[in-house]
Protein backbone atom coordinates (compact mmCIF):
# COMPACT_ATOMS: atom_id res chain seq x y z
CA UNK A 1 0.00 0.00 0.00
CA UNK A 2 1.46 3.40 -0.90
CA UNK A 3 0.58 6.64 0.82
CA UNK A 4 -1.93 7.56 -1.88
CA UNK A 5 -4.28 4.89 -0.53
CA UNK A 6 -5.99 5.60 2.73
CA UNK A 7 -4.98 3.57 5.75
CA UNK A 8 -7.98 4.03 7.97
CA UNK A 9 -7.57 3.30 11.65
CA UNK A 10 -9.45 3.79 14.89
CA UNK A 11 -7.73 4.92 18.05
CA UNK A 12 -9.82 4.16 21.12
CA UNK A 13 -8.87 5.63 24.49
CA UNK A 14 -9.46 2.97 27.15
CA UNK A 15 -9.27 5.68 29.82
CA UNK A 16 -12.20 7.56 28.30
CA UNK A 17 -14.39 4.57 27.41
CA UNK A 18 -16.97 3.96 30.15
CA UNK A 19 -18.66 0.98 28.48
CA UNK A 20 -21.94 2.82 27.96
CA UNK A 21 -22.68 1.00 24.72
CA UNK A 22 -23.67 4.11 22.76
CA UNK A 23 -21.34 2.95 19.99
CA UNK A 24 -23.14 -0.39 19.89
CA UNK A 25 -26.56 1.26 19.69
CA UNK A 26 -25.46 3.80 17.11
CA UNK A 27 -23.92 1.12 14.90
CA UNK A 28 -27.07 -1.00 15.15
CA UNK A 29 -29.23 1.88 14.05
CA UNK A 30 -26.94 3.19 11.34
CA UNK A 31 -26.35 -0.21 9.73
CA UNK A 32 -29.69 -1.89 10.50
CA UNK A 33 -27.89 -4.77 12.18
CA UNK A 34 -30.43 -7.57 12.79
CA UNK A 35 -31.54 -8.56 16.28
CA UNK A 36 -29.07 -10.73 18.18
CA UNK A 37 -26.14 -9.82 15.91
CA UNK A 38 -23.50 -7.17 16.59
CA UNK A 39 -20.93 -5.40 14.48
CA UNK A 40 -19.32 -3.96 17.61
CA UNK A 41 -19.37 -4.83 21.29
CA UNK A 42 -17.99 -3.81 24.69
CA UNK A 43 -15.44 -5.83 26.64
CA UNK A 44 -14.69 -5.13 30.30
CA UNK A 45 -11.55 -6.88 31.46
CA UNK A 46 -10.58 -7.07 35.14
CA UNK A 47 -7.09 -8.29 35.99
CA UNK A 48 -5.05 -8.62 39.15
CA UNK A 49 -5.71 -9.96 42.63
CA UNK A 50 -7.99 -8.20 45.10
CA UNK A 51 -7.42 -5.48 46.29
CA UNK A 52 -5.00 -4.71 43.45
CA UNK A 53 -7.43 -4.90 40.60
CA UNK A 54 -7.36 -3.05 37.33
CA UNK A 55 -10.17 -2.59 34.87
CA UNK A 56 -9.87 -1.96 31.16
CA UNK A 57 -12.93 -1.19 29.05
CA UNK A 58 -12.75 -1.56 25.28
CA UNK A 59 -15.15 -1.00 22.42
CA UNK A 60 -14.26 -3.72 19.91
CA UNK A 61 -15.13 -4.44 16.28
CA UNK A 62 -13.52 -5.81 13.13
CA UNK A 63 -9.94 -4.59 13.08
CA UNK A 64 -9.71 -4.20 9.28
CA UNK A 65 -6.37 -5.95 9.51
CA UNK A 66 -3.59 -5.07 7.08
CA UNK A 67 -2.79 -8.80 6.81
CA UNK A 68 -6.40 -9.94 6.85
CA UNK A 69 -6.81 -13.74 6.90
CA UNK A 70 -10.50 -13.32 6.03
CA UNK A 71 -9.53 -11.93 2.63
CA UNK A 72 -6.95 -14.63 1.84
CA UNK A 73 -9.28 -17.43 2.88
CA UNK A 74 -12.35 -16.29 0.92
CA UNK A 75 -12.85 -18.67 -2.04
CA UNK A 76 -14.90 -16.30 -4.19
CA UNK A 77 -13.38 -12.89 -3.53
CA UNK A 78 -16.51 -11.73 -1.73
CA UNK A 79 -14.30 -10.61 1.14
CA UNK A 80 -12.08 -7.90 -0.28
CA UNK A 81 -10.54 -4.50 0.36
CA UNK A 82 -12.44 -1.39 -0.67
CA UNK A 83 -10.65 0.31 -3.55
CA UNK A 84 -8.10 2.89 -2.40
CA UNK A 85 -8.46 2.02 1.28
CA UNK A 86 -7.64 -0.71 3.76
CA UNK A 87 -11.27 -1.24 4.71
CA UNK A 88 -12.34 -4.90 4.52
CA UNK A 89 -15.81 -5.33 3.05
CA UNK A 90 -18.02 -8.18 1.85
CA UNK A 91 -19.85 -8.29 -1.47
CA UNK A 92 -23.06 -10.05 -0.49
CA UNK A 93 -23.86 -11.47 -3.92
CA UNK A 94 -20.46 -13.14 -4.14
CA UNK A 95 -20.73 -14.72 -0.70
CA UNK A 96 -21.69 -18.41 -0.66
CA UNK A 97 -22.03 -18.57 3.12
CA UNK A 98 -19.17 -21.07 3.41
CA UNK A 99 -17.97 -19.32 6.59
CA UNK A 100 -14.27 -19.79 5.86
CA UNK A 101 -13.75 -16.13 6.74
CA UNK A 102 -15.42 -16.66 10.10
CA UNK A 103 -13.12 -19.56 10.85
CA UNK A 104 -10.08 -17.49 9.90
CA UNK A 105 -10.82 -14.42 12.06
CA UNK A 106 -9.00 -14.61 15.42
CA UNK A 107 -11.22 -11.78 16.73
CA UNK A 108 -14.50 -13.57 15.86
CA UNK A 109 -15.69 -10.30 14.35
CA UNK A 110 -17.88 -11.77 11.62
CA UNK A 111 -21.37 -13.18 11.67
CA UNK A 112 -23.92 -14.64 9.27
CA UNK A 113 -26.81 -12.40 8.31
CA UNK A 114 -30.35 -13.85 8.28
CA UNK A 115 -30.22 -13.79 4.46
CA UNK A 116 -27.18 -16.08 4.51
CA UNK A 117 -24.21 -13.91 3.59
CA UNK A 118 -21.50 -12.89 6.03
CA UNK A 119 -21.29 -9.36 7.43
CA UNK A 120 -19.25 -7.27 9.89
CA UNK A 121 -18.16 -3.71 10.71
CA UNK A 122 -17.43 -1.70 7.55
CA UNK A 123 -16.04 1.45 9.23
CA UNK A 124 -19.33 2.91 7.96
CA UNK A 125 -17.90 3.25 4.45
CA UNK A 126 -21.18 4.77 3.27
CA UNK A 127 -20.72 7.60 5.78
CA UNK A 128 -17.05 8.02 4.84
CA UNK A 129 -18.11 8.50 1.23
CA UNK A 130 -20.12 11.52 2.44
CA UNK A 131 -17.31 12.95 4.54
CA UNK A 132 -18.78 11.77 7.85
CA UNK A 133 -17.22 9.68 10.61
CA UNK A 134 -18.29 6.14 11.47
CA UNK A 135 -21.47 6.13 13.54
CA UNK A 136 -19.77 4.75 16.66
CA UNK A 137 -17.17 7.54 16.65
CA UNK A 138 -19.89 10.17 16.21
CA UNK A 139 -22.03 8.79 19.01
CA UNK A 140 -19.38 8.26 21.68
CA UNK A 141 -20.25 10.64 24.57
CA UNK A 142 -16.68 10.76 25.92
CA UNK A 143 -15.05 11.08 22.49
CA UNK A 144 -13.07 7.94 23.20
CA UNK A 145 -13.15 6.86 19.54
CA UNK A 146 -10.99 8.74 17.05
CA UNK A 147 -11.09 7.75 13.40
CA UNK A 148 -8.76 8.83 10.63
CA UNK A 149 -6.16 8.12 8.00
CA UNK A 150 -2.80 6.93 9.32
CA UNK A 151 -1.14 7.84 6.03
CA UNK A 152 -1.90 11.48 6.86
CA UNK A 153 0.80 12.51 9.32
CA UNK A 154 -1.30 15.44 10.49
CA UNK A 155 -4.40 13.40 11.28
CA UNK A 156 -5.59 13.07 14.86
CA UNK A 157 -5.05 9.30 14.81
CA UNK A 158 -1.41 9.68 13.72
CA UNK A 159 -0.76 12.27 16.39
CA UNK A 160 -2.37 10.23 19.16
CA UNK A 161 -0.25 7.19 18.29
CA UNK A 162 2.89 9.33 18.44
CA UNK A 163 2.07 10.80 21.84
CA UNK A 164 0.28 8.07 23.80
CA UNK A 165 1.15 4.51 24.77
CA UNK A 166 -1.07 2.04 22.94
CA UNK A 167 -1.68 -1.62 22.28
CA UNK A 168 -3.57 -3.79 19.81
CA UNK A 169 -5.48 -6.96 20.63
CA UNK A 170 -3.49 -10.22 20.22
CA UNK A 171 -0.94 -8.75 17.79
CA UNK A 172 0.82 -12.13 17.94
CA UNK A 173 -1.99 -13.57 15.82
CA UNK A 174 -0.12 -11.88 13.00
CA UNK A 175 -2.99 -10.07 11.29
CA UNK A 176 -1.72 -6.46 11.79
CA UNK A 177 -4.93 -4.99 13.21
CA UNK A 178 -5.73 -1.33 12.67
CA UNK A 179 -7.60 -0.59 15.86
CA UNK A 180 -5.33 0.83 18.55
CA UNK A 181 -6.20 1.05 22.22
CA UNK A 182 -4.65 3.95 24.15
CA UNK A 183 -3.51 2.85 27.59
Amino acid sequence: MNSKTKKYAMVIDTRLCVGCGACVAACKMENQVPEGLHRDWIVEQVTGTYPNLSLEIRSERCNHCSNAPCITSCPTGASHRKEGTNIVVVTANKCTGCKACMASCPYNARFVMPDGYVSKCTFCEHRLDEGLEPACASACPTHAITFGNLHDKMSQVSKLLKVRKYKTIIPEAGTEPNIFYLL
Binding site: G19, W41, E44, C74, P75, A92, A103, S104, G174
Partner: protein, 326 residues
Protein backbone atom coordinates in the same frame (compact mmCIF):
# COMPACT_ATOMS: atom_id res chain seq x y z
CA UNK B 1 -7.27 -13.27 37.97
CA UNK B 2 -8.43 -12.33 34.50
CA UNK B 3 -12.14 -11.76 34.31
CA UNK B 4 -13.84 -10.75 31.11
CA UNK B 5 -17.36 -9.40 31.03
CA UNK B 6 -19.18 -8.55 27.85
CA UNK B 7 -21.80 -5.97 28.75
CA UNK B 8 -23.17 -5.93 25.25
CA UNK B 9 -23.21 -9.02 23.12
CA UNK B 10 -20.32 -10.33 21.09
CA UNK B 11 -20.47 -10.43 17.28
CA UNK B 12 -21.94 -13.93 17.23
CA UNK B 13 -23.54 -15.74 20.13
CA UNK B 14 -20.89 -18.38 19.89
CA UNK B 15 -20.46 -19.07 23.57
CA UNK B 16 -18.20 -22.02 24.03
CA UNK B 17 -17.55 -23.04 20.44
CA UNK B 18 -17.41 -20.97 17.25
CA UNK B 19 -20.24 -23.25 16.17
CA UNK B 20 -20.22 -22.40 12.46
CA UNK B 21 -19.63 -25.90 11.10
CA UNK B 22 -21.94 -28.52 12.54
CA UNK B 23 -22.50 -32.08 11.31
CA UNK B 24 -22.54 -31.46 7.55
CA UNK B 25 -18.85 -30.60 7.29
CA UNK B 26 -17.47 -33.65 9.18
CA UNK B 27 -19.62 -35.97 7.06
CA UNK B 28 -18.27 -34.35 3.89
CA UNK B 29 -14.68 -34.57 5.18
CA UNK B 30 -15.22 -38.28 5.87
CA UNK B 31 -16.69 -38.98 2.43
CA UNK B 32 -14.01 -36.85 0.76
CA UNK B 33 -11.26 -38.78 2.52
CA UNK B 34 -12.96 -42.07 1.65
CA UNK B 35 -13.16 -41.04 -2.01
CA UNK B 36 -9.49 -40.08 -1.97
CA UNK B 37 -8.56 -43.49 -0.56
CA UNK B 38 -10.68 -45.26 -3.16
CA UNK B 39 -9.23 -43.19 -6.02
CA UNK B 40 -5.66 -43.88 -5.01
CA UNK B 41 -6.12 -47.61 -4.42
CA UNK B 42 -8.22 -48.16 -7.55
CA UNK B 43 -5.82 -46.15 -9.72
CA UNK B 44 -2.81 -48.08 -8.41
CA UNK B 45 -4.58 -51.39 -9.09
CA UNK B 46 -5.49 -50.35 -12.64
CA UNK B 47 -1.94 -49.14 -13.24
CA UNK B 48 -0.47 -52.45 -12.13
CA UNK B 49 -3.01 -54.60 -14.04
CA UNK B 50 -4.08 -56.42 -10.90
CA UNK B 51 -7.48 -57.53 -12.18
CA UNK B 52 -6.75 -61.26 -11.86
CA UNK B 53 -5.53 -61.02 -8.28
CA UNK B 54 -7.75 -58.19 -7.07
CA UNK B 55 -10.84 -58.05 -9.29
CA UNK B 56 -12.94 -55.84 -7.01
CA UNK B 57 -10.31 -53.16 -6.46
CA UNK B 58 -9.30 -53.05 -10.11
CA UNK B 59 -12.60 -53.20 -11.94
CA UNK B 60 -15.46 -52.47 -9.55
CA UNK B 61 -14.16 -50.03 -6.94
CA UNK B 62 -13.90 -46.91 -9.08
CA UNK B 63 -17.70 -46.69 -9.46
CA UNK B 64 -17.96 -45.72 -5.81
CA UNK B 65 -15.71 -42.69 -6.23
CA UNK B 66 -18.11 -40.29 -8.02
CA UNK B 67 -21.06 -41.64 -6.03
CA UNK B 68 -19.52 -41.09 -2.58
CA UNK B 69 -18.04 -37.75 -3.58
CA UNK B 70 -21.40 -36.54 -4.85
CA UNK B 71 -23.06 -37.48 -1.57
CA UNK B 72 -20.27 -35.63 0.26
CA UNK B 73 -20.68 -32.54 -1.90
CA UNK B 74 -24.40 -32.62 -1.22
CA UNK B 75 -23.69 -32.35 2.51
CA UNK B 76 -21.25 -29.55 1.80
CA UNK B 77 -23.99 -27.75 -0.10
CA UNK B 78 -26.29 -28.19 2.89
CA UNK B 79 -23.76 -26.36 5.06
CA UNK B 80 -23.75 -23.24 2.89
CA UNK B 81 -25.80 -20.37 4.27
CA UNK B 82 -26.16 -18.52 0.98
CA UNK B 83 -27.09 -21.55 -1.14
CA UNK B 84 -28.40 -19.69 -4.17
CA UNK B 85 -24.91 -18.33 -4.74
CA UNK B 86 -23.08 -21.68 -4.63
CA UNK B 87 -22.09 -21.15 -8.28
CA UNK B 88 -19.82 -18.33 -7.14
CA UNK B 89 -17.24 -20.99 -6.18
CA UNK B 90 -16.81 -21.59 -9.90
CA UNK B 91 -16.52 -18.04 -11.19
CA UNK B 92 -13.24 -17.37 -9.39
CA UNK B 93 -10.04 -19.08 -8.41
CA UNK B 94 -8.38 -17.53 -5.38
CA UNK B 95 -4.89 -18.92 -5.04
CA UNK B 96 -4.60 -18.05 -1.33
CA UNK B 97 -7.88 -19.72 -0.43
CA UNK B 98 -7.61 -23.45 0.20
CA UNK B 99 -11.36 -23.64 -0.04
CA UNK B 100 -11.09 -22.36 -3.60
CA UNK B 101 -8.45 -25.01 -4.35
CA UNK B 102 -10.82 -27.62 -2.94
CA UNK B 103 -13.80 -26.47 -5.00
CA UNK B 104 -11.81 -26.98 -8.20
CA UNK B 105 -10.14 -30.23 -7.12
CA UNK B 106 -13.59 -31.70 -6.46
CA UNK B 107 -14.53 -30.95 -10.05
CA UNK B 108 -11.33 -32.57 -11.35
CA UNK B 109 -12.20 -35.89 -9.72
CA UNK B 110 -15.26 -36.49 -11.91
CA UNK B 111 -13.76 -36.68 -15.42
CA UNK B 112 -10.88 -38.85 -14.17
CA UNK B 113 -13.26 -41.22 -12.36
CA UNK B 114 -15.50 -41.35 -15.41
CA UNK B 115 -12.67 -42.38 -17.74
CA UNK B 116 -11.45 -45.05 -15.32
CA UNK B 117 -15.04 -46.25 -14.88
CA UNK B 118 -15.57 -46.54 -18.63
CA UNK B 119 -12.24 -48.34 -18.90
CA UNK B 120 -13.27 -50.99 -16.38
CA UNK B 121 -17.06 -51.25 -16.72
CA UNK B 122 -17.00 -54.07 -19.27
CA UNK B 123 -14.99 -56.32 -16.97
CA UNK B 124 -16.23 -55.01 -13.64
CA UNK B 125 -19.97 -54.90 -14.23
CA UNK B 126 -20.31 -57.27 -17.14
CA UNK B 127 -23.98 -58.29 -16.86
CA UNK B 128 -25.13 -54.71 -16.20
CA UNK B 129 -23.13 -53.50 -19.17
CA UNK B 130 -24.59 -56.23 -21.42
CA UNK B 131 -28.12 -55.44 -20.31
CA UNK B 132 -27.61 -51.71 -20.79
CA UNK B 133 -25.94 -52.23 -24.16
CA UNK B 134 -28.76 -54.48 -25.44
CA UNK B 135 -31.43 -52.08 -24.18
CA UNK B 136 -29.68 -49.08 -25.74
CA UNK B 137 -29.37 -50.74 -29.14
CA UNK B 138 -33.07 -51.58 -29.10
CA UNK B 139 -34.24 -48.15 -27.86
CA UNK B 140 -34.76 -44.83 -29.61
CA UNK B 141 -31.31 -43.73 -28.42
CA UNK B 142 -29.50 -46.43 -30.43
CA UNK B 143 -27.52 -43.73 -32.22
CA UNK B 144 -25.63 -43.20 -28.94
CA UNK B 145 -24.45 -46.80 -28.90
CA UNK B 146 -21.43 -46.42 -31.23
CA UNK B 147 -20.45 -43.19 -29.43
CA UNK B 148 -20.44 -44.95 -26.08
CA UNK B 149 -18.49 -47.84 -27.60
CA UNK B 150 -15.91 -45.35 -28.87
CA UNK B 151 -15.67 -43.68 -25.46
CA UNK B 152 -15.19 -47.03 -23.76
CA UNK B 153 -12.52 -48.08 -26.24
CA UNK B 154 -10.74 -44.76 -25.85
CA UNK B 155 -10.89 -45.06 -22.06
CA UNK B 156 -9.57 -48.62 -22.13
CA UNK B 157 -6.70 -47.50 -24.34
CA UNK B 158 -5.71 -44.57 -22.16
CA UNK B 159 -6.56 -46.01 -18.75
CA UNK B 160 -2.94 -46.18 -17.60
CA UNK B 161 -2.01 -42.50 -18.19
CA UNK B 162 -5.35 -41.47 -16.66
CA UNK B 163 -4.75 -43.74 -13.67
CA UNK B 164 -1.33 -42.17 -13.28
CA UNK B 165 -2.95 -38.71 -13.25
CA UNK B 166 -5.61 -39.88 -10.81
CA UNK B 167 -3.12 -40.76 -8.08
CA UNK B 168 -1.89 -37.19 -7.44
CA UNK B 169 -5.48 -35.90 -7.69
CA UNK B 170 -6.54 -38.48 -5.10
CA UNK B 171 -3.65 -37.44 -2.86
CA UNK B 172 -4.61 -33.78 -3.29
CA UNK B 173 -8.21 -34.56 -2.43
CA UNK B 174 -7.10 -36.41 0.70
CA UNK B 175 -4.68 -33.72 1.80
CA UNK B 176 -6.50 -30.50 0.95
CA UNK B 177 -9.25 -30.97 3.55
CA UNK B 178 -6.58 -31.10 6.24
CA UNK B 179 -4.68 -28.13 4.81
CA UNK B 180 -7.97 -26.24 4.59
CA UNK B 181 -8.43 -26.53 8.34
CA UNK B 182 -4.75 -26.03 9.18
CA UNK B 183 -4.62 -22.77 7.19
CA UNK B 184 -7.01 -21.18 9.70
CA UNK B 185 -4.35 -19.89 12.07
CA UNK B 186 -7.13 -18.41 14.21
CA UNK B 187 -8.12 -21.94 15.31
CA UNK B 188 -5.01 -23.29 17.10
CA UNK B 189 -6.21 -26.90 17.37
CA UNK B 190 -6.13 -27.29 13.59
CA UNK B 191 -2.96 -25.33 13.11
CA UNK B 192 -0.54 -28.10 12.17
CA UNK B 193 0.58 -29.02 8.65
CA UNK B 194 0.37 -32.68 9.71
CA UNK B 195 -3.41 -32.44 9.57
CA UNK B 196 -3.33 -32.85 5.79
CA UNK B 197 -1.43 -36.11 6.08
CA UNK B 198 -3.53 -37.30 9.00
CA UNK B 199 -6.68 -36.92 6.92
CA UNK B 200 -5.01 -38.52 3.87
CA UNK B 201 -3.91 -41.63 5.76
CA UNK B 202 -7.28 -41.83 7.48
CA UNK B 203 -8.90 -41.62 4.04
CA UNK B 204 -6.70 -44.43 2.74
CA UNK B 205 -7.47 -46.53 5.80
CA UNK B 206 -11.24 -46.02 5.46
CA UNK B 207 -10.99 -46.71 1.71
CA UNK B 208 -9.23 -50.00 2.44
CA UNK B 209 -11.88 -50.81 5.06
CA UNK B 210 -14.64 -50.25 2.51
CA UNK B 211 -12.90 -52.59 0.05
CA UNK B 212 -12.63 -55.27 2.75
CA UNK B 213 -16.38 -54.93 3.35
CA UNK B 214 -17.33 -55.16 -0.32
CA UNK B 215 -14.76 -57.42 -1.96
CA UNK B 216 -15.57 -61.13 -2.20
CA UNK B 217 -12.22 -62.72 -3.10
CA UNK B 218 -10.44 -63.99 -0.01
CA UNK B 219 -6.86 -63.16 -1.00
CA UNK B 220 -7.95 -59.69 -2.13
CA UNK B 221 -9.28 -59.11 1.36
CA UNK B 222 -6.01 -60.44 2.82
CA UNK B 223 -3.91 -58.06 0.73
CA UNK B 224 -6.06 -55.04 1.48
CA UNK B 225 -6.02 -55.98 5.17
CA UNK B 226 -2.22 -55.89 5.05
CA UNK B 227 -2.44 -52.44 3.43
CA UNK B 228 -4.86 -51.30 6.10
CA UNK B 229 -2.54 -52.44 8.86
CA UNK B 230 0.15 -50.26 7.31
CA UNK B 231 -2.22 -47.29 7.02
CA UNK B 232 -3.38 -47.61 10.63
CA UNK B 233 0.20 -47.73 11.94
CA UNK B 234 1.15 -44.66 9.90
CA UNK B 235 -1.99 -42.89 11.06
CA UNK B 236 -1.12 -43.59 14.70
CA UNK B 237 2.41 -42.26 14.20
CA UNK B 238 1.12 -39.07 12.55
CA UNK B 239 -1.37 -38.62 15.37
CA UNK B 240 1.37 -38.85 17.98
CA UNK B 241 3.53 -36.37 16.04
CA UNK B 242 0.51 -34.07 15.73
CA UNK B 243 0.16 -33.99 19.50
CA UNK B 244 3.90 -33.49 20.01
CA UNK B 245 3.86 -30.64 17.51
CA UNK B 246 1.07 -28.89 19.37
CA UNK B 247 2.79 -29.34 22.71
CA UNK B 248 6.01 -27.82 21.44
CA UNK B 249 4.33 -24.81 19.85
CA UNK B 250 2.90 -21.63 21.34
CA UNK B 251 0.68 -21.39 24.42
CA UNK B 252 -2.44 -21.21 22.23
CA UNK B 253 -1.51 -24.56 20.70
CA UNK B 254 -0.59 -26.15 24.04
CA UNK B 255 -3.97 -25.03 25.40
CA UNK B 256 -5.76 -26.25 22.29
CA UNK B 257 -4.38 -29.80 22.36
CA UNK B 258 -5.48 -30.09 26.02
CA UNK B 259 -8.96 -30.65 24.59
CA UNK B 260 -7.88 -34.24 23.89
CA UNK B 261 -5.26 -34.51 26.63
CA UNK B 262 -7.49 -34.19 29.65
CA UNK B 263 -10.01 -31.66 28.38
CA UNK B 264 -13.64 -32.19 27.41
CA UNK B 265 -13.04 -34.16 24.21
CA UNK B 266 -10.55 -36.58 25.77
CA UNK B 267 -12.89 -39.55 26.44
CA UNK B 268 -14.62 -39.48 23.04
CA UNK B 269 -11.38 -39.01 21.16
CA UNK B 270 -9.38 -41.82 22.74
CA UNK B 271 -12.29 -44.26 22.78
CA UNK B 272 -13.82 -43.65 19.35
CA UNK B 273 -10.88 -42.51 17.26
CA UNK B 274 -7.99 -44.31 18.89
CA UNK B 275 -9.39 -47.46 20.48
CA UNK B 276 -12.36 -48.21 18.21
CA UNK B 277 -10.90 -46.69 15.05
CA UNK B 278 -7.27 -47.79 15.29
CA UNK B 279 -6.14 -50.11 18.07
CA UNK B 280 -8.95 -52.69 18.07
CA UNK B 281 -9.18 -53.01 14.26
CA UNK B 282 -5.38 -53.25 14.09
CA UNK B 283 -5.37 -56.09 16.61
CA UNK B 284 -8.26 -57.85 14.86
CA UNK B 285 -6.59 -57.53 11.46
CA UNK B 286 -3.30 -58.90 12.72
CA UNK B 287 -5.14 -61.84 14.29
CA UNK B 288 -7.04 -62.43 11.03
CA UNK B 289 -3.77 -62.60 9.12
CA UNK B 290 -2.52 -65.14 11.63
CA UNK B 291 -5.45 -67.37 10.74
CA UNK B 292 -7.88 -66.71 13.59
CA UNK B 293 -11.48 -67.06 12.45
CA UNK B 294 -12.71 -63.50 12.87
CA UNK B 295 -15.27 -62.03 10.44
CA UNK B 296 -13.46 -59.33 8.47
CA UNK B 297 -16.47 -57.05 8.64
CA UNK B 298 -15.87 -56.18 12.28
CA UNK B 299 -12.46 -54.57 11.91
CA UNK B 300 -13.48 -52.82 8.68
CA UNK B 301 -16.63 -51.34 10.21
CA UNK B 302 -14.70 -50.13 13.25
CA UNK B 303 -12.19 -48.38 11.00
CA UNK B 304 -15.03 -46.57 9.23
CA UNK B 305 -16.59 -45.52 12.54
CA UNK B 306 -13.20 -44.28 13.74
CA UNK B 307 -12.67 -42.26 10.56
CA UNK B 308 -16.03 -40.56 10.95
CA UNK B 309 -15.37 -39.89 14.64
CA UNK B 310 -11.97 -38.38 13.83
CA UNK B 311 -13.61 -35.82 11.53
CA UNK B 312 -16.40 -34.97 13.96
CA UNK B 313 -14.09 -34.51 16.93
CA UNK B 314 -11.45 -32.53 15.05
CA UNK B 315 -13.99 -30.16 13.47
CA UNK B 316 -15.52 -29.42 16.86
CA UNK B 317 -12.17 -29.18 18.68
CA UNK B 318 -10.90 -26.57 16.23
CA UNK B 319 -13.98 -24.46 16.79
CA UNK B 320 -13.60 -24.59 20.55
CA UNK B 321 -9.90 -23.61 20.44
CA UNK B 322 -9.27 -19.88 20.08
CA UNK B 323 -6.86 -16.98 20.63
CA UNK B 324 -9.25 -14.86 22.64
CA UNK B 325 -11.20 -16.16 25.62
CA UNK B 326 -14.34 -14.44 24.31
Amino acid sequence: MNEIVLTTKKAIESGHSLGIWRWEVPIYLFLGGLTAGILIIAACMILKDKEKEFPFSTNKLILLSPILLSIGMFFLFLDLDHKLYVWRFYTAFRITSVMSWGAWILILVYPLSLVLLLATVKKGYTEYYQKFSTWLKGSQYNKLSPIIEKLINWSEKYKKPVAMATIPVGILLGIYTGILLSAFSARPFWNSELLGFLFLVSGLSTGAALIILLAKEHHERIFITKLDIGFIVIEAIILVLYIFGMLSSSLQHIDAIQLILGGELTPVFWSFVFAIGMVIPLALEILELRGKAIPVHIAASLVLVGGLALRFIFVEAGQISNWLPY
